[in-house]
Symmetry: C2
Subunit: 114 residues, 2 copies
DNA sequence: TGGGGTACCAACCTCAAGGTGAGTAGGCTG
DNA sequence: CAGCCTACTCACCTTGAGGTTGGTACCCCA
């Protein structure tokens, strides 16, 4: 039992902790879910993700891009045109993340009713 | 596509966001994984989870208990004897969380090598 | 001529997350 | 009799996450 603990998910592997924190961060989750299955422009993401500030959206996108989960494609035109897409690893992350969010949604519903 | 976005995972359902944030919080993840499949005392958790402060361990456990994911059993003896266990929903959460952590672990490994 | 739109960057500020250290009960051990 | 142990609580302080504002470049539209 406790197969995951065997992965030494402690100070010995800070990279794992960091990556999990990025993927499961407040805005990281929302960005990944928003990009699931579609390409979006920056302004579309801003409109879609309710309550995110410009700073945090940029920061989150840059972090996820550095982690190789999100692909940024900029066309050097005026006005700027930038598109964001999930990479293959990014899609893997969403695939694992979505059930957790879905579970939380259903649980939040049943609890608030009860 | 984007089936999870259809769940209205935005300001309209703050409960879901909150629950996700609890489960995926820095110490929440570690506590849930540590309790996967076993009952542990407070001091055992403190030793097991590398780098956690007493304050954060208590706070995290109380939060997860309030969310109904962790069960706290105290025996009124001196010195105190308190045990923590996952509830059924708590175990569900770990089941969904573990693959994500496992994925992050493998990805962190391959990336740091490359 | 000037106002709006895009995708940012930089600086400043606030506030909450999180760390640190002390205190507590009371039996048990040396 | 003097600590030590557990599982905390409380008070204080620091750090950093995150919000707000202002600026940029350049074109288009009115």
């Amino acid at each position: 039992m406790s197969a995951v603990s065997d992965l030494q998910f402690d100070t010995a592997c800070p990279d794992t902790r960091t990556l999990v924190e990025h993927v499961t961060s407040k805005w990281g989750v929302l960005v990944l879910l928003a990009l699931d299955g579609r390409t979006m422009r920056w302004s579309e993401l801003k409109r879609e993700i309710d309550g995110v500030s410009e700073k945090m959206l940029i920061q989150t996108l840059q972090t996820l891009e550095a982690d190789g989960l999100v692909l940024r494609t900029a066309r050097p035109v005026v006005p700027p045109h930038v598109e964001y897409t999930l990479t293959t690893p990014g899609h893997e992350a969403v695939t694992l993340l979505a059930p957790l969010v879905s579970w939380a949604f259903h649980r939040a519903q049943t609890r608030s009713v009860a």
